[in-house]
């Protein structure tokens, strides 16, 4: 019987006329596709289309193409479904995958259009006029009290602990362990240069990054990896990760092969043991338990802001309201397109709801309860461009988190094989020879370039809208129109359809 009924997804072709046998491809491929016997040979079944070999072949001798193997068309049994069955019939077990939901669900961002000024009010040129993106995160009072004091006025209200960001964009949580130390370094350097923050994810913070603490949000997740008093106090805020958009309701599993010395000491677990994050926090079985953890973390940190990260699930608005009332300062909404290092494909692709809709209902819910000032909302899990940033802010986000986009800037090709630990780009891997490929200075520069470019675009959008501060776009759904959305979705988003 045939050993593997799952046919190769990609074909790797080496043009032997051009190849000068430098063997660079054999070293570069993290997935062990190439071998060298007199000449380069390729085991195409292993190829994931990460393009590392293509980019690094000096002779452009390598092509990676989709396997054109014909399958009889069947509209309910598309090829991916058939392959899934072959795989599971062969190995049993869940199908794992990496990165975000790749099914063609409706993308609401792509059905929202932004307004601009014409005639009746002037647009503003961001190259000539100040254009403010500065953003603050955290709980704030409903009002400011002022005292008169010799000729002037004095503030008589404690505003509390809030975080200042120069731009409304931050880096999403990606744990050291699931990504390499050089990814963390790149993010920390970039966050510092951009005046924003990165988020540790659930794997603790390597000591080398302690100096960047002013630009780091530290996470406390169900496995409590790397959580100790010094760690909690290193960041500007602490985040309780309840859920992740790519795998709502699911725990995490970082296999023992990825727990080398450094990861082990950062996570505070023995070398080579699997790092298992329980699905729930075992001290949070209800909202009042969450309140206890929030306040425990506040006590432990001298009342730094506490963020609570949840996946956008059906009842997200009520959950968010509970989180705000439990004392959180920030609610981090991770949409169902959010990335991951590893998730069961069935969960990644079918659980949760789109960020855009969750964001709209959470913002509205908090407003109708009069508690929108109590929390800041971060929208993440599906932010692909500055247009998405602007739309998310208009729907009500205080800031957005980017994870996948940051990794793509670092070279990620979205091959979705992060869970294998073989990432050829040195991103989702702990293999030292692969990790070394990502130079943190180079990485930071790419991230800074990307986010600066988005910031410029965002300023241009604000100027076109005739406003010169991002807060005038925030929650301003009047400046969005929907196109091609059904009436109910438009209503839920609380935007008008184009033409109104």
């Amino acid at each position: 019987m045939a050993g593997n009924m799952v046919t190769s997804e990609f074909l790797v072709q080496v043009d032997h006329e051009r190849c000068r046998k430098c063997k660079r491809c054999t070293l570069n491929c993290g997935f062990g596709v190439f071998d060298f016997k007199d000449r380069v040979t390729a085991d195409t079944s292993k190829c994931v289309a990460c393009h590392r070999c293509v980019v690094f072949c000096p002779e452009e001798a390598i092509t990676v193409a989709r396997n054109p193997l014909a399958f009889r068309e069947h509209s309910s049994w598309d090829v991916d479904r058939r392959k899934a069955i072959w795989k599971q019939a062969q190995d049993s077990g869940m199908l794992l995958t990496g990165m975000g939901n790749d099914l063609p669900w409706l993308n609401v961002f792509d059905h929202l259009l932004i307004d601009a000024c014409q005639v009746t009010n002037p647009s503003i040129d961001p190259l000539r006029e100040p254009m403010e993106l500065r953003t603050y995160l955290g709980r704030r009072p409903d009002r400011v009290e002022v005292e008169r004091s010799d000729g002037g006025f004095k503030l008589d209200t404690e505003v509390g602990n809030i975080i200042k960001l120069d731009i409304p964009i931050m880096f999403s949580g990606m744990s050291y362990g699931s990504v390499s130390i050089n990814v963390h370094k790149s993010l920390a350097l970039a966050a510092q240069r951009l005046g924003t923050v990165m988020n540790t994810g659930e794997g603790g913070l390597h000591e080398e990054l302690y100096p960047y603490g002013d630009h780091i949000i530290v996470q406390c997740a169900s496995g409590r990896f790397g959580v100790h008093s010094e760690y909690l106090n290193k960041g500007v805020a602490v985040e309780i990760k309840v859920g992740q958009g790519a795998k709502p309701g699911i725990g995490g599993h970082l296999p023992g092969e990825k727990i080398g010395r450094e990861v082990s000491s950062t996570r505070m677990i023995p070398v080579g043991t699997d790092a298992l994050s329980p699905a729930p926090h075992h001290d949070i079985y209800s909202i009042e338990d969450l309140r206890q953890l929030i306040y425990a973390l506040k006590e432990a940190t001298g009342y730094k802001p506490v963020s609570v990260k949840i996946a956008t699930v059906h009842n997200v608005a009520a959950i968010a309201s509970g989180i705000a009332r439990a004392g959180a300062d920030i609610i981090y909404l991770d949409g169902f397109r959010g990335g991951t290092g590893a998730s069961p494909a069935v969960v990644r692709d079918h659980v949760g709801i789109p960020l855009e809709i969750a964001l709209a209902v959470v913002d509205q819910q908090l407003r109708s309860e009069g508690i929108r000032n109590w929390v800041s909302i971060i929208a993440a899990g599906g932010i692909r461009s500055s247009a998405d940033v602007a739309k998310a802010i208009a729907l009500g986000a205080d800031a957005v988190g980017v994870g996948t986009a940051a990794l793509i800037a670092l070279g990620c090709r979205l091959c979705q094989k992060c869970y294998t630990g073989n990432c050829s780009w040195g991103i989702a891997t702990q293999r030292p020879e692969l990790v070394g490929r990502l130079d943190p200075d180079w990485g930071a520069e790419r991230l800074v370039n990307l986010i600066n470019a988005w910031s410029l675009e965002l300023k241009e959008i604000l100027g076109a809208l005739g406003v010169n501060a991002v807060e005038s776009l925030r929650g301003n759904r009047e400046r969005l129109r929907s196109l091609g959305l059904d009436e109910m979705t438009t209503e839920i988003l609380d935007v008008k359809p184009a033409g109104r």
Binding site: N121, P122, T157, N476, D494
Partner: protein, 371 residues
């Protein structure tokens, strides 16, 4: 609030109308009485800033006989509206006097609705039952009438002041309402240039709630968030006009949150971070930071020039980069604010000083004593 309500509101309601305009205002800080003809004269000069689709005035100190009563000016476009409205008024208020607002029908003013005014105070037992102050009570009553009684609109609800507005050129509106028969210590006027026809008297300026009267030239690009922010504090923006938002923001910041007027202006036309960051005085920097952080959704962004009348004076304010004209002048105890210097010189040929206020810098005229 249910999403459905909001959704149906914009479907059936008037949509927002961009408008440009001319404004003028005058106050005697000594409390000397100024005739209504003065503000009409001033508005005539900036006739071309309006297009005849809305004009209006507010006068302060015009009802000394009823200085402690709320003066409700109400328009009835629906014959059934008056009975329903008066039933509400009777239930909630002690009405001291109810009469037609005197008018002189003339050219340029057509299709006038029935216009009446009521001098009244809330019934004490009603206030006690709700445990709220009379001002909040009146705000709720006005919003209730304006949202629930068909064809009925309360367009003025302050004490010892009144708003007079109509579809027409400002000077015609002033003559229609016989403003020369009134005198007050402060007047503001407005001529409107909407970019399509609202054809509705309630849509003219000033927009009023309690003693606040706002005349406004501009378009508030941040309208959507300002409105949603106000809704959180119980203000229903029913008219979908920018000006309404401005009036409610003043009411909330000054009356409800107790901010001094100058400070409220620093919320609405907030200084830029680049300027806050280099403020020498740490107390003033801390205040500006707090205002921007706490009141970010109350920043009024986009081009505007407003003159806001309140019980003791008026304030002129420009947006933070001054995208609409605003000129001020003083002569003795008189402060003038207008879209154009010509409108000031028309009624004050030789002012002591004329200047263009800087972006975001309020010009405030306030009564020195009692009137």
């Amino acid at each position: 609030m249910a999403f459905g309500d909001q959704y149906s509101r914009w479907r059936v309601d008037r949509s927002r109308v961009p408008a440009a305009c001319g404004l003028s205002g005058v106050i005697s800080e000594d409390g000397a009485m100024i005739g209504g003809d003065v503000i009409i004269e001033s508005m005539k000069v900036i006739h071309d800033r309006g297009n005849g689709l809305g004009g209006g005035f507010a006068g302060y100190g015009i009802y000394p006989r009823y200085r402690d009563h709320y003066a409700l000016h109400i328009m009835f476009e629906d014959p059934g509206g008056r009975a329903a409205c008066e039933e509400l008024l009777e239930a909630d208020l002690q009405v001291q006097e109810s009469e037609e607002i005197p008018t002189r029908p003339g050219p340029g003013i057509e299709d006038a609705p029935e216009l009446r005014r009521y001098f009244a105070v809330p019934r004490p037992e009603k206030l006690a039952a709700l445990a709220i102050g009379p001002d909040d009570f009146m705000v709720q009553l006005v919003m209730r009438i304006n949202t629930t009684v068909p064809g009925t609109f309360v367009f003025s609800s302050g004490k010892n002041m009144g708003v007079f507005k109509a579809v027409g050129f400002a000077e015609d509106v002033g003559e229609f309402y016989r403003l020369p028969d009134y005198s007050g210590y402060c007047w503001i006027g407005h001529g409107r240039f909407p970019t399509n026809t609202p054809g509705w008297w309630g849509g003219a300026h000033p927009f009023n709630i309690l003693d606040w009267a706002v005349v406004h030239n501009g378009e508030i690009s941040s309208y959507g968030i300002n409105k949603r922010y106000l809704e959180m504090f119980g203000y229903e923006c029913t008219l979908l006009t920018d000006t309404e938002v401005m009036a409610y923001l003043f009411d909330m910041l000054v009356r409800k949150h107790g901010l001094p007027l100058e400070v409220a202006c620093r919320v609405l036309a907030a200084p830029f971070w680049k300027d806050i960051d280099i403020e020498d005085d740490p107390a003033s920097r801390a205040l500006d930071e707090a205002l921007r952080v706490v009141y970010s959704s109350a920043l009024v962004n986009g081009p505007f020039a407003v003159i806001v009348g309140f019980s003791r004076g008026m304030v002129g304010l420009n947006d933070r980069i001054k995208l609409r004209p605003l000129v001020a002048a003083v002569k003795d105890d008189l402060l003038y604010i207008s879209s154009e210097e010509s409108a000031i010189r028309q009624i004050c040929p030789r002012p002591d000083r004329v200047w263009a206020p800087n972006a975001g810098q309020p010009v405030i005229g306030e009564l020195k004593g009692d009137v």
